[in-house]
Amino acid sequence: MTAAAPFAGSAPARSRGIGAILAGRRESAPALVILVVLLVVDLWLNRAWMLPGSWGTVIGLAGPTLAAAIASMPAIMAGRGGIDVSIGPSMGFINIILVKVLAGDLGIDQPWVLVPVALAIGALVGLFNGLLSAVLRIQPIVATLGTYLVLSGVTLTLLPAPEGAAPAWLKALAGPYSVVPLAAMAAIWLLAKRLTVYDWLVACGSDDRACFTAGVPVTGVRVFAYTLGGLFAGAGGLSLSALLGSADPNVGPTFTLVAISGVALGGVSLAGGRGGFAAAVLGAAVIFLLQSTLTYFNVSSFLLHTLYGVILVASVSLNALTGRVAGRSR
């Protein structure tokens, strides 16, 4: 157990330095280091990023990636194999409904209609996933893979090829107001953290059997987790539509892999119970910065694809190894 010493020694010191953000999460430390390095590299490569005027665009570029990771996080935190692979297709489906069906075909493009519709669709899809996996008790991967297929199939049926244009106010969510969806998600998460159900969520993720014996409504908590993730996917659908500026049926599903890689990298334990908003944002931000760094060097998208896989495997392996070294049970 001598190997445990450096981990045990360095982790608390590091997390105390940034206190509130990491809240003592040892698993997020590697991602944080990579984030800082990548941020320095990126700022040096794209010096225009330092001008406050371009911050909106940069955050807008990162928006869908961050949102997808945030949306994937609650289901994973709920534990016992909880995962929502339908987040990407859900965002794509919302994109089609907003831009093609509502704004395009029906001519409804007011924000007070589109924003609630996006959030409602997201939350309903999440609720449906929660009912499938927690109440019907279908393995979450299979349940959400089923939803994945249905959503991406329906999306392609509604719109076989990209078309349409998003309303101007929506496009602004990828420009000057790109921080709004993220801030809204952060506000929802902070609100959720003040509720008992958040404590139940963390507890269920760590040990659902103990929770059940203690009288925690485990099933309800899990349904809540999927619904919350779905709500975040709704916000993700908004920022995806803003960034695309049109309706594209093929983009959504690609966010699933990025989101899960980001969540795992950020230190959200795939066994449940550990992680949170900051960890998901951290992991997704690392992936986004990596993406933009490699794009700067004109690296092929194939290498980028390979790297997603390598990052996913390496980060979960690292998580498992450090967990084992620290002597924690899963």
């Binding site: 016992r80 194999g81 995962i83 499938l132 019907l136 008790r137 279908i138 393995q139 991967i141 299979v142 349940a143 893979l145 089923g146 939803t147 994945y148 297929l149 249905v150 959503l151 991406s152 199939g153 329906v154 999306t155 392609l156 049926t157 076989p160 659902d208 059997r209 059940f212 014996t213 485990v218 099933t219 892999l257 899960i260 890689s261 795992a264 795939l270 066994a271 092929s300 194939f302 290498l303 980028l304 694809h305 390979t306 790297l307 997603y308 896989g309 390598v310 996913l312 495997v313 979960v316 392996s317 498992a320 190894l321 084992r324 899963r330």
Partner: protein, 322 residues
Amino acid sequence: MNVLRGLDANTRRTLGAIAMALVLLALGSLVIEGFGAPFAIRSMLVLATFIAVASIGQTLVVLLGGIDLSIPFVIGFANVVAASLYGDGMAFWLVCVVVALLSMAIGALNGTLSSFLRIHPLIVTLGVGTTVQGIVLMWTGGLPTGSAPAYLSEFVSIGGTIGPLPVPWVVPCFAVLAVFVHVMLARTPFGRQIYALGSNPTAAPLALIDPHRIVIASYALSALFAALAGVLLLGFTGSAYGDVGQPYLFQTIAAVVIGGTALIGGRGGLIGTIAGSAVLIELNTFLIGLGLAPSTVQAALGIVILALVSIYGREVHVRTLI
């Protein structure tokens, strides 16, 4: 008693899958003109064989309580690598050996990571699969080259015949392979250890079963069968295509689930999976025959799978775990 009842349920589910395949065949012949025609049956038989080959490995892994999402990527990998090596003039038997060894190494990596590090196989196989796909893309630059030997195309051709029999050689060869794997699962120590480990991962090591060995071997076999499917598909299409395996991610899982193998592990078998493959192809042909677009068919299949899994693929309630 529990074991007996479990076996009975197994047989029931397998018979249910076979019955479903026959009912769909009858229904399709009645509703859609040409569904029951000899050529249509032959093409469905060949296409179902491809799914069944790719699903053998998924069956083994699901029996262990795992899942293998790297199958489509290994199929694409084998497809592209085999075509490229053969196109470069390597002897085809040597190509097969190389592809088999490489794919088994990929599978063994899946098994090693998920077994020793106790990471959910879902994440491991997705990550490893994505990496493999990326490497194949980088290697070929997105434009795979090469070709398939003529006898391989003849082996899997829908129009192929064996003397008077109107089926290509791949169908009887698969039947032999299926019997072989079925006997391995039902009669050999390795097969029984898979069931034991899948039914109770805590008790199996106490019965002197080495979990790591079984898991790694099963994932390696899964990748091997995926690679076999990839090479067969190379013969079928005649040229390499990196994304040829994409539909098989969902179809292998669906075939296994329709065939009555429980995703929680320990229950099910290969015969059901083969029936499940036939059901999938029939369902697909049926829905397309009704005039639905492929994307609508995909959505409909998603609903069918969710319905089937909610009938017999459910997990236990947390209260029974205490």
